[in-house]
Amino acid sequence: MTDYNPDKGYIALLGWSLSAIDAMEKFDRHYLIVAPSWAKEYAEAHDIPFLAWDFERLNEKSFEIAQTLKEMGIDVAVPLFEETVEWAGAINSVLLDNPRLLGQSMLLRDKSLMKRRAQLGGIRVGIFEEAHDRADVVRFLRRVNQTLLKLDGDTNDPIHFKAFDLAGCMGHRVIRTADDVDSIPDEDFPALMESHLDGWEFAAEAWIHDGKIRFLNISEYVRLGYSVFVPASPELEALRDKVEEEIKKLIKAFDIKFGFIHPEYFIANDDVMYFGEVAYRPPGFKVFELLERVYGFNAYQGMVMMFDPKTTEEEIEAFFPTPVKDADGHAGCFGVYPRNRVVSKLSIPEETENHPYFEWHELSEPMESKVAKRSAFGNHWGLVYFHGEDAETLRDLLKAQEKLDFYV
């Protein structure tokens, strides 16, 4: 973008996201994309300000990139993906001259440290333990089930297994048996293990500036890893005050002054809210796009405002709508995984196509006919978008998609 406001910050976005680039193209901030070199050609062809950088593990080069960005006049770095969260922390600790930011980002990257820190902050969490090898997993599975007074031969209650530093559903497995344990690849260790809580799982997104929540969204999962919609149903929105209190605890426990967080919670059968995990980056399931559909504001732009030290109070107030009240209906999406082992073409089911809530999809024809076996939650093949007035209808509709074949 050539016409930007010189009174606002110069923003570095860490990671390659066309949606984020699109948001910046329409925004009033000078920006730079810092992403791996494979994106360079596209960026040059489309005249997108670009700096190539490979986000390997943090190393001595992190100071080099921080210094480079500082010399360019960058005010702040914004992480777009899990892998870039600690890079943003390292860079911002230099740019903003605040060494604690690096430590904070490390906490937000390591699921086990994160959990302990939350516990220290007085936040309810389930039973959890770290696993370094498969024996740890088997032991944890047995002990959890012993606690539940299960006898040998009873069906186990599952446990959750999450690789330490992978985003969201990547590397998240549900373990019920010793066989499940055997299927975990070596590279997923070390990992965090948690007991399974029966209940209602949901996520929230909070835009934070000056230590305060500026916009809070609750995303209702219809089924984790498959479908989500915003704003949440009236039943879940009834808990908004409670959610806000919990997030304030998180802000305090992690000492978050600015930015954007995406925590996940459980409401157990006893109506107690348990903290699952929190990420310091946009959610993976296109919740930002859904928010734009119902509220009309661009969530990436909102996120950048939260990071930008030059953002003003008036700007923030003018930007965000009133949650729920200002929403035009509910928008949801469903991630499609092929259900057959062999597929030949994309075929949108008639039930989907003919439903008035269906809006569009970003699925494409299959690249290969054999479907890789899905071990962890893994990646969907594309999203199908819905929009409508009634949350219950939308929830049932999203649920119904799980039984349909989009690839035949």
Binding site: D22, E25, D47, P356, E359, W360, H387
Partner: protein
């Protein structure tokens, strides 16, 4: 009307589809310019759903301004309406590519909104939009009337209906009276080139006739020349004025007295030579005369003294040709027969015996099937092919490549018919009977029978019977010759053209493009050599002896490079105003092109014979990139002035040569 009014019912369009499209337009509008492409396809898909559903065309028209402003055309060929050409619309509508089809339809709706004053567009005025749509209508008239073309038959019925709806909208906006005239002048313009394939034109004339009957009580269209077209086809003479049907006309003929029959013969000939269209009644009459009154055959063919002399010398052959080839379905070949006799080529010793062979020729099953696929069973494929042969020999420059990438083959057929009909007849016999032709390339024999398909992968679309039989073979041989030239430096036509077309192709190969770099090379020398070979003031006034294959860089009306194209130079001489023009054969279906920079290819009115295109020699040279010549033939000539060379160079530089200097 940038936003559709939600309270207004939209002629039955599905509200769910409307909501989806509006949401898609919203997403597209919200996408930054650099990334428009990400949201274009979803919006196009939603537009397609709506267009192909009831009421969809009107609903899209109501949204066309917001679609355009949201950027649905950005980065596509349709982004600048001022650069669009009516003549290309048909091909896109027939392409079957869903995205192109949607964008083309929306583009027409945009013109409609501009024409109707609902949309003020910076590039195109309301009048220009009107004019554009009138031309589109004229060129796609059958869409309006829903007549089934070959192409439409393969199309999704929902799309056929959507396009019919679109064209009804266009016709209502433009007004029937206006299109009527545009259609008529369009038909005359194409007829002025005397094409062999007239099916499409005849369908248009048939529609015109229905139309003028239907609208006779509303507004009377001015319709200059409409009567002549309609009557040439459906009632060219006294006795068939009421379009009585072939059987009734035939029955009537035997009751006519001598004078009336002579009038019929003269009337038929007059209508045929006036328009280039032949009525089915003409076939009935000609068969009758051959059977009962051969003395009237020359009148019925409209022959001059040359033609009469040829007919008298070869009456038996002529009667045999009529008997086998001329039927109601193949009546158009009567025009070819007339011109064949006028050309006098029957006096070339091999021609008459070769035609006797053609009359007797049995077709291979593959060849017969190919003709049946294109033309149906009646008359039998042998007769259909013979009729095609008659047309080609009578109208060498009437052959066209149809909707196929086979300009090389079409050009070859035209040149052989023009200069070497005996050889053409031999090739047709081989291809039709043996399903194989042989040609030699630098001593090596190439058989078309062993080769894979060339440029035309599927069946040929919209071509005459001879092309239908011969082009697949020529195409394969051409590709094979190209393969044998692989690895040689420079343009392969240097070797292919003389080997493929004949000994008479000049052995000096001239090219103005350096093939490895694509840059222009020695423009001055190229121009000097071309003028020395062809320009009467620079070659000692020697008229061109054989048609000469040449390559041109085709440019569009904005003078942008479109592609390389094969043509044949037929004559170079002074037009009635004294200007030296190059008269050439263009195998595409419509030679009247606008090459940009003020260069408009003329097809009539500048001394052209039927089928020829022409431009002034400097303009022609500025689009030429390959020609053949024979330096030994040339006398010492005076060099071309530097002014003239500069004129050519600047026209190259401002068009296709822009990035090649």
């Amino acid at each position: 009307m940038s936003e559709a009014n939600p309270t207004q019912p939209e002629s039955g369009a599905d509200p769910v589809l409307l909501k989806r499209l509006d949401a898609a337009i919203g997403r597209l509008r919200n996408t930054s310019d650099k990334l428009k492409m990400r949201q274009q396809q979803p919006a196009i898909e939603q537009a397609e759903r709506l267009l192909t559903s009831p009421g969809g065309v009107h609903a899209c028209l109501a949204r066309i301004v917001s679609m355009d402003e949201a950027g649905i055309f950005v980065g596509t060929d349709w982004n600048h309406p001022a650069r669009l050409k009516p003549v290309l619309v048909r091909h896109t509508l027939e392409s079957g590519d869903a995205t192109a089809l949607v964008l083309e339809t929306l583009s027409e709706l945009r013109f409609l909104a501009i024409a109707g004053g609902q949309y003020a567009h910076a590039e195109v005025s309301s009048e220009e939009a009107h004019h554009f749509l009138a031309q589109v209508l004229g060129l796609n008239l059958e869409r309006l009337f829903g007549s089934q073309t070959e192409v439409a038959r393969f199309q999704d019925p929902a799309w056929t209906e959507a396009l019919a709806q679109l064209f009804r909208c266009l016709a209502e906006e433009i007004g029937y009276g206006r299109i009527f005239d545009a259609v008529i002048s369009e038909i005359w313009r194409i007829l002025a080139q005397r094409p062999i394939q007239t099916d499409r034109l005849k369908a248009m004339v048939a529609q015109l006739s229905l139309w003028s009957r239907e609208s006779s009580n509303e507004q009377s269209p001015s319709g200059w020349g409409a009567d002549r077209l309609v009557s040439a086809l459906f009632g060219p003479t006294n006795e068939c004025r009421e379009d009585p049907g072939a059987d009734a006309y035939e029955a009537k003929l035997s009751t006519l007295d001598e004078k009336a029959l002579a009038q019929e013969a003269a009337g038929m000939a007059r209508a045929m030579h006036d328009t280039g269209l032949v009525s089915a009644y003409h076939a009935v009459l000609l068969r009758h005369l051959v059977a009962f009154r051969t003395d009237l055959v020359p009148d019925c063919l409209g022959l001059s003294s040359t033609g009469r002399e040829n007919y008298n010398s070869f009456a038996e052959l002529t009667h045999a040709l009529v008997d086998k080839a001329i039927h109601v379905e193949t009546a158009q070949s009567i025009y070819g027969l007339s011109l064949l006799l006028e050309r006098g080529i029957l006096h070339l010793p091999p021609t008459a015996p070769a035609l006797w062979r053609q009359i007797q020729l049995k077709l291979s099953p593959e060849s017969a099937q190919r003709l049946i696929d294109s033309f149906g069973n009646t008359p039998e494929p042998e007769a259909r092919l013979l009729a095609g042969v008659i047309s080609i020999l009578g109208q060498p420059l009437g052959v066209g490549q149809g909707n196929n990438p086979t300009c090389q083959a079409a050009r070859a057929i035209a040149m052989w018919s023009y200069t070497d009909p005996d050889y053409l007849l031999q090739l047709v016999a081989w291809a039709a009977r043996d399903n194989e032709i042989r040609m030699s390339f630098e001593g090596e024999s190439i058989s078309s029978g062993n080769l894979n398909a060339g440029l035309a992968k599927s069946g040929l679309v919209d071509v005459d019977p001879v092309s239908a039989i011969l082009v697949p073979h020529l195409d394969r041989v051409y590709m094979e010759m190209g393969r044998l030239c692989a690895g040689r430096e420079g343009d392969p036509h240097r070797w292919i053209n003389p080997e493929m077309h004949g000994w008479w192709v000049g052995r000096q190969f001239n090219i103005v493009v350096d093939v490895p770099t694509g840059k222009l090379t020695d423009i001055e020398g190229f121009v000097q050599r071309f003028y020395a070979a062809f320009h009467p003031d620079h070659n000692g006034g020697q008229p061109l002896i054989h048609p000469s294959p040449a390559g041109i860089a085709v440019t569009d009306s904005a003078a942008r490079f479109v592609g390389w194209h094969a043509i044949a130079i037929v004559r170079v001489s002074r037009d009635p105003s004294g200007e030296v023009r190059v008269y050439f054969f263009n195998p595409n279906n419509d030679s009247g092109q606008d090459w940009g920079d003020g260069i408009k290819v003329s097809t009539s009115g500048n001394g052209e014979f039927y089928g020829e295109s022409s431009v002034p020699i400097a303009d022609f040279t500025s689009r030429l990139y390959i020609f053949h010549s024979d330096p030994l033939e040339q006398t010492a000539s005076q060099p071309v002035s530097s002014d003239e060379v500069e004129k050519v160079r600047s026209k190259i530089a401002s068009s296709w040569g822009q990035d090649r200097l």
